[in-house]
Each structure stands twice: as C-alpha cells, then as structure tokens.
Subunit: 213 residues, 2 copies
Amino acid sequence: MPFDPSHYRLCLVTDRGLAHGRSLVEVAMRAVMGGVTMVQLREKVATTRAFIEEARALKRLLSDHGVPLIINDRADIALAVGADGVHVGQTDLPVAAVRALVGPDRLIGLSITDAEQMGREDAGAADYLGIGPLHPQKTKPDAATPLGFGGFAKLRRMTTKPVLAIGGIKPDDVPMLVEEGASGVAVVSAIMAAEDPEAAARAFRAAWAAEAG
Amino acid sequence: MPFDPSHYRLCLVTDRGLAHGRSLVEVAMRAVMGGVTMVQLREKVATTRAFIEEARALKRLLSDHGVPLIINDRADIALAVGADGVHVGQTDLPVAAVRALVGPDRLIGLSITDAEQMGREDAGAADYLGIGPLHPQKTKPDAATPLGFGGFAKLRRMTTKPVLAIGGIKPDDVPMLVEEGASGVAVVSAIMAAEDPEAAARAFRAAWAAEAG
C-alpha cells in the first residue's frame, strides 16, 4: 500500500505475553480503531506456521484500514503474506540482506540503542529507525540502557531518516518527543496490556494532535 | 550447485545441543570428511544473526566439497546465503509459500510423521520427504510416534518422491531401509553427538556401500 510519513505516527508493536490471553489480531484491530497508524507483528514463541497465519489475518484486516503491516525479523514471512515491511534488531538479518530479499518497495526498520550502532552501515541502509529504550521497562529487564530524552535527542540528530521513539513510552512523553524531532512513537505495553486498547491508542493520538496537528 | 539423487544418501541434521560445545561448522566438516552428502542446518535457539553467519560459513565450506546446504525453516536465511534448499516441518511455512519465495531451482524438503500428512498438498509440493521417526528418540521425548520399519515402508509406498528416513537411525538400520526404498537417511545424534563425527559418518556410508553400491 502507499506509504506516507503519517504512518509513522503511532506504531503498535505486538507482544503476545502482554495481551491477557486476547488474540494479537483482536488487540491490534481495537488499537487501529483508536488511531494506530502502523502495526509491527513480533512473535518470539509461536511456530512459523502460527506466525504466518496470524500475519495473513492481520494483513487482511489492516489493509482494509489503510494501515501498514511490518513483520519483525522474518523477511520470508513478510514476503509470503505481502506485508509492507520488515523490522530488524541488531541480532537479526543485516539490513542489506533483507533489502536483497524484499526489494526497494518494502520498508525496512532497524532498532538502534546507541551511537555506535547509528554509525554502522545497517543504519544507513534502513528506511526508518526505532530508537530506544527511552525509559526503563519493567517488561524487558534485559533491555539496553535507557536513553532518556537527552540520549534520544542526541541519536536523533545523527540521522535525517524517520525515527520512532520506543521503550516504555506514555502519551505524556509525546510533546517532548515531537520537539526532539521524532516521526512517531512505537508502543508495546501501553497498548498491548491496556484493558481498552482503543482508548489507549486514542490517548497517544490526542497527544500528537495537540502537538503536531 | 547441481543436485543429484546421490546427495540424499546421508544427510546430517545439525543440533547444537548435541555438539558437546563444538561448533556446528566443525562437526559438519568432520562429518563431510566421513562421507555426509547433504547438511541441513537447524537452529532453534540462536539469534537470526548468528544463524545467518553460521549458514554463510557452512555454505562456503560445503560448496568446496560439493555438498548441498539445506536450511531448516528459514527461507529468508536460505535465500540470503544462497543455500541449496529449505527443509520445513508441519508447523513451518507451507511448502507452496516456500516455493513462491525460493523458486523452482532450490530443493524443498518436508517432514512427514503419518499417512494423513502424506495425503496433503504440502507433501505433493515438496521435492523430497523426510519420513520418521523410525525409532524412539531419547533426545526428542516430544517426537511423534515411532513408525518402525513397517510404518516407514507403508508411508514410503505412498509416494514416488525421494525419501529420507529419520529418527534415531544407526548404520545397522541401513540395509532394511534400502530394501524399503529409502533414498537415504537423515542423521542427527548418531553423528552430532559422536566423539568422532568423521568415523560415525563413515560407518553409515559403509553400510550404504554394502547395500546399494
């Protein structure tokens, strides 16, 4: 589907462990009702078969709403379901390898946690960067050192690419992130774990609307 | 690389947990010295980055010896490293989805554990079938019911495709499997866990040589 920068505004990153037994498709669709503009499907425990079936179901539903679907790590699944892009971390496929597989028209996102990663070839080859974690995260005790707003701003100024802030982000963080040049925010627990994912997404969109119009 | 039926003769399937701390590349290369004709790289715990780096190293070494490299499950990694094929299980990508990604020239193998799976579309679309487990396996307590020679023979007669027997196979099993029409055997622990993987592989090859010339 055609991609424009407004799709970066509010990206939901799925996490089955936070969904309170609800299906990822259910939570994602309720979040889209609330204004999520992009969904990254991340699966670390499901079988490949279950992952692809979930991706297919999500792709159908998201397409109806003009919301791009990004697949975490698995370029093969992204291709098989016709997803709009692939997001990789520092221990996934190199960006150049993903590009060779998915071509120029699918988005490739890369997670960045420090300045050294920002200087590498991978960062230059990605279409957008997820920079974080902004805050400490109780659901990811093994995550990299939190950047805080100062650290985020420093990394953000090292690139002209679209940048999503990630890591324990709440709607209250949005004004400062807009000021520092974030193209959007990527949210996991604040939406995945919310009793009402639609309202949770709406709170983020309201914060953006107040800041960025 | 050009593929011919003799490549099915003795397939090593890797398992990091059985390698006694040796690298998979080391064990695989010693096994190739002993006569392994195909290697399937299977990684269930490594990061994607580590998986692809291992696959690249193996591909370089195996190419020098004319031994095809098959990647378990990850069609994206198979494409990225120029592997010779992809092997999928019943909970991995459907064969048709893998075919769409890797094209007609790469091999696609499929694991089969019962007659019902043999009747499905996936089995018809694969290039070769891995049928098993032949024997009970102490390293895979959650594996499907062992087929025994009779069960293997029954499934083997349901297809004209090349068939590898798998599951706790020892050199002594080779004569009976040849008689039942196996194209080869796929071996995990008998080579991966062997103190001398080269000698272990050679024992299988000797059993084949005695039976099939």
